[in-house]
């Protein structure tokens, strides 16, 4: 359903992604783990073509793009098929929650206004913001803003939703409400790829875990395999460090 093959990306001389190959099935929830700088964000951004890969192919659904020769139309198609939830929400500041969600439906998908509004209200209600339709981002808490961000992605009905550390900019007491929403849409069978450092969440919600380091996929598998019995030394060390930090933090 999503197939990345041999994706490479360099910034100048710095090769950040090296020959990444990854398949994601429909309805799968993929969690990407890895230390800082391992290329997780870059990988997600390549999928949404916010970053242009130097090489490789991306296939989402029935649409395949050869990154070397991607044209405007290819990029547009890819972006229509995926939606991104950003670490810092990136809401349109001059638009209300409802307008944020409607924008893509009206401007890009050319839905009639009434229909777009109806769908947007539905989605905002689903993320628990039915009472905040007319609030501007500056009037919402971080958790509420991120839920608008999720609604904005969800409303577009994409084939896959990409989450880049959706809770890492939030106050701890607001993390739960956002994770609840992500869990809820995961259970609806929507395909998603999530970069996160929330280990217990990753374990509970994912059915495919990918561990990246130094721009390559070191190991991937089912959550109980990768968390329970990691094969690679680097994975073991990462998990050990991150769980001991976690214990320490409590």
């Amino acid at each position: 359903m999503i197939k990345l093959s041999r994706i490479s990306k360099s910034f100048g001389k710095n090769q950040v992604l090296k020959d990444i190959t990854l398949s994601v099935e429909k309805g799968e929830v993929v969690v990407i783990l890895g230390p800082s700088g391992s290329g997780k964000t870059t990988l997600l951004r390549c999928l949404n073509y916010l970053e242009r890969p130097n090489d490789g192919t991306i296939a989402i659904g029935d649409y395949t793009v050869d990154c070397k020769h991607a044209g405007k139309k290819d990029i547009h198609q890819l972006r229509q098929k995926s939606a991104m939830v950003f670490q810092h929400y990136n809401l349109f500041k001059h638009k209300t929650a409802l307008e944020n969600v409607m924008e893509g439906l009206v401007i890009v998908q050319k839905l009639p206004k009434e229909e777009a509004r109806k769908r947007s209200v539905e989605v905002l209600e689903k993320v628990g913001l039915g009472a905040k339709l007319d609030a501007y981002p500056s009037q919402l808490s971080g958790g509420q803003q991120q839920r608008v961000g999720i609604a904005r992605a969800l409303a577009l009905n994409p084939e896959v939703i990409l989450f880049d550390e959706p809770t890492s900019a939030l106050d701890p007491e607001l993390v739960g409400e956002v994770l609840d929403v992500i869990r809820k849409i995961a259970n609806e069978g929507i395909t998603m790829i999530v970069v996160t450092h929330e280990m217990s969440f990753a374990r509970e919600v994912s059915n495919h875990v990918v561990f990246m380091d130094g721009g390559v996929i070191v190991e991937e598998g089912k959550p109980n395999e990768l968390f329970g019995a990691p094969k690679e030394e680097r994975t073991k060390q990462f998990l050990k460090r991150i769980t001991s930090d976690w214990v320490y933090n409590i």
């Binding site: 950003f86 981002p137 993390v175 976690w246």
Partner: protein
Amino acid sequence: MGKKFDINYVLDFIPKLLSYLDITLFIVTASLVFGLLIGFLVALPRMYNVPVLKRVSQVYVSFFRGTPILIQLFLVYYGVPELFKLVNIDLSRTDVLVFVILSYSLHSGAFISEGIRAAVNGVERGQVEAAYSVGMNGFQAFTRIILPQALAISVPIFANLTIANLKDTSLAFTLGAMEMTGKSQTLGTATQHFIETYIALSLIYFVISTVLERAFHYVERRLLKHEKQLVQHGHRSRKRSLWGKPLVTRIEEGG
């Protein structure tokens, strides 16, 4: 110099000067309109990093920001006709107002292009990326997301420039342009009551500047309505999310 101070002359001069207000306002408006046009054209190569044009616009901007408006007036008034002589076009009969407006337009254009750049840069890159990620193209992202916010940001810059221009037009009299300050000179000479003309003049400029300032302030508030915070959320949670350190759930990255 002049005759004994007489307040009645001030009252007498105000309506006489006001009859030239339209010319002053015409200079201001025309130079802002052309300045906007120039400012946009000049800002583009710098925002989109066009190699040679970028340098040209940089030189233009720093020249018109770095030299006194009075010198620019003289340069345009005496220099432009010389340039046109080279191609056998005679500008000696052209109205002085044309040169005045040209000078102020070039001057405003330099400031406006800087304002546009600042305002566009003031809209976070992340919002543009979000626009792309919902499938907008560059034009849609610019007109729907960047422009409305950039306009709101640029209102105070534009307000300052308008008021500065209003006051700067008073220098046009040095070229013999008959606007308010030019008129005050002839009134002063005719009556020998110079102080009174200056008082009348400053009152007029002051009132107009104040009105303009209020008007811009109103527009700014309207355009920035999305920045108003609700009291119940307030600053606490925003500050906290900036400084607050994750305690429990979030696991810090290693390394």
